[in-house]
């Protein structure tokens, strides 16, 4: 496997650098923002230097409605990393803006999560100084 994860690392902290910085700066302010092209308006995630539709380098950090639906779901019954206690669920959320993001759910047991479930973003301080965007069920 070529994906480089350090199993000895205490927690996979996102490096707030390069193209991704604006996303994580927003999260630390408890705002969910995504890259949006200032030329053609395309929402882009994960971030990248240019717009994959119109090739413009013009981009801004635009605030998301924070609402979406569960698009995919995994329940880890065995933990691949000491920072995460099994069982835990990872969700792929499709946002109203059309982009998808990987996250976790709060306030719900893994078995209760369903694909198609409407969700909204919440911010959780998972360890001191590290806030992550997570989701809770709505309705």
């Amino acid at each position: 496997m070529s994906i480089a994860y350090d199993l000895n690392h205490p927690f996979p902290v996102p490096p707030a650098a390069w193209e991704s910085a604006g996303f994580w700066e927003g999260v630390q302010r408890r705002e969910l923002v995504f890259q949006r092209c200032t030329e053609c308006g395309l929402w882009v995630h994960p971030p990248r230097p240019a717009c994959p539709r119109c090739r413009s380098f013009g981009k801004e950090w635009a605030r998301s409605s924070g609402r979406g639906t569960i698009y995919g779901l995994v329940i880890y019954r065995q933990s691949p990393h000491p920072a995460f206690k099994a069982p835990y669920a990872v969700v792929l959320v499709e946002m109203e803006e059309g982009v998808r993001m990987i996250s976790n759910m709060v306030g719900i047991a893994p078995e209760e999560i369903r694909i198609g479930m409407p969700v909204e973003v919440v911010f959780e301080e998972v360890r001191q100084g590290l806030i992550l965007p997570k989701f809770r069920k709505v309705g």
């Binding site: 496997m1 070529s2 994906i3 480089a4 994860y5 350090d6 927690f11 996979p12 902290v13 996102p14 490096p15 991704s20 995630h45 994960p46 994959p52 698009y71 995919g72 779901l73 995994v74 329940i75 880890y76 019954r77 065995q78 933990s79 691949p80 990393h81 920072a83 995460f84 069982p87 835990y88 990872v90 792929l92 982009v99 998808r100 993001m101 990987i102 996250s103 976790n104 694909i115 198609g116 998972v126 590290l130 992550l132 997570k134």
Partner: protein
């Protein structure tokens, strides 16, 4: 494409046994399978003037050349990503077709289980490639940190869209282990499983059960590619490359397609299939055996759909009961066992088995089967090939 299809051939193969601990260095394993492939082809080391290696392998072509007594390379380079094996054959075929080399060697040697001198990927964020960094940044903080997890995510969507009973995936490991149980060089020789074993298998990365997932192996394999013209003078009946293709599409990540328009579609395999059939002039109904990426069982029905062997959503039903995909069935799958029933070598073993089927020397085989289609890297970047005894 005209320079390659039916004009290039695989003329030598070598493959190690699959084990949990080879007790050997990867270079030693590489050297053994290279020698076996040379002997198989009736070539000697100085004949080899091209080598294609993998970025993750510890044994680069310099070490292989120094060990095996080759020494006049005019064509060499590396391929990347786990889905590379058929792409490595493609690179080799391009080399001989373009006249940049006469005999090109392709190999991988990986102590994936024992980790004995494995080509360990970068552990330092500062050294990550941009795409690995992306996964670290946006997936790992939420615990999405395994290849099984990526397949599980795609599978969850596939199950949801088509309303499939996940127990049906069990026929893939049952068939692959059944084939592998007859392969004395595999990890599961004499160890078939029944569908009840699958149903009792614990959930691992839900919706994947433990038996949906391959185990890591220590193994190595080598292939030699040349032009069909040169192949005719060698020891073996040439196994012709009828088509070979790679695919990487927008929003591809290694082993993920979380951001692609349809998560359940395996877009790279769709493209690989289109190119393979266009290049060979063949259609799914002409293919006599398939050696598909079965690193995780649900990838098989998804690929059957992506390649056009059945309609979208019908792959699991196609495999139900296992009769259509067993040796002797409509389209035998992974006849030496594949990743689930022989061992894990990223699919190089699938290519070796395709060559053996065309020759008529598979461990489970009664007579020759041709043509055979192979895929590697179903989650992308992907590659594939069709080999046979002619068009």
């Amino acid at each position: 494409m005209d320079m390659i299809s039916n004009k290039t051939a695989i003329v030598g193969i070598g493959i190690s046994e699959f084990s949990k601990d080879s007790g050997k260095t990867e270079l030693r394993m590489a050297s053994e399978v290279i020698r076996e492939a040379l002997d198989d082809a009736g070539l000697v080391p100085p004949d080899i003037d091209g080598i294609v290696v993998h970025t993750d392998d510890a044994s680069d072509e310099i070490a292989a050349v120094r060990t095996m007594g080759m020494g006049n390379l005019t064509f060499f380079g590396q391929c990347r990503w786990d889905g590379a094996p058929c792409g490595m054959v493609m690179r080799a075929a391009i080399g001989v077709a373009a006249g940049m080399a006469n005999y090109v060697l392709v190999y991988r040697a990986v102590n994936g289980s024992s980790k004995r001198r494995m080509g360990t990927p970068s552990r330092d964020i500062a050294q990550m490639s941009t795409s690995a960094l992306l996964q670290w940044t946006f997936h790992a903080p939420f615990g999405q940190i395994s290849a099984a997890g990526a397949v599980a995510m795609i599978t969850s969507r596939y199950l949801y869209e088509y309303g499939i009973d996940p127990d049906k995936f069990g026929w893939i490991p049952v068939v692959c282990r059944g084939h592998g149980s007859k392969n004395p060089r595999g990890m599961y020789y004499g160890q078939p499983i029944a569908i009840e074993d699958y149903r009792r298998s614990p959930m691992f990365t839900d919706p994947l059960r433990l038996l949906d997932c391959h185990e890591n192996s220590d193994a190595a394999a080598a292939l030699i590619i040349t032009t069909l013209e040169r192949a005719k003078d060698l020891r073996q009946k040439p196994v012709r490359i009828l088509a070979v293709a790679q695919s990487e599409v927008a929003e591809t990540e290694e082993k993920n397609c979380f951001y692609s328009p349809r998560l359940s579609e395996l877009p790279e395999i769709v493209r690989v299939g289109e190119r393979l059939f266009a290049m060979s002039g063949l259609a799914p109904r002409h293919i006599r055996s398939i050696q598909l990426d079965d690193s995780y069982a649900p990838l098989v029905p998804m690929q059957l759909e992506a390649l056009g062997f059945c309609a979208p959503g019908e792959g699991a039903a196609f495999c139900e009961g296992g009769d259509r995909i067993r040796m002797g069935g409509e389209i035998p799958l992974n006849t030496s066992g594949g990743s689930l029933g022989e061992g894990y070598l990223y699919g190089l073993n699938h290519i070796i088995e395709a060559v053996r089927l065309v020759r008529g020397t598979s461990p489970v085989q009664a007579g020759p089967l041709s043509p055979v289609l192979v895929t590697t890297g179903a989650l992308g970047p992907a590659s594939g090939l069709i080999v046979g005894d002619g068009l």
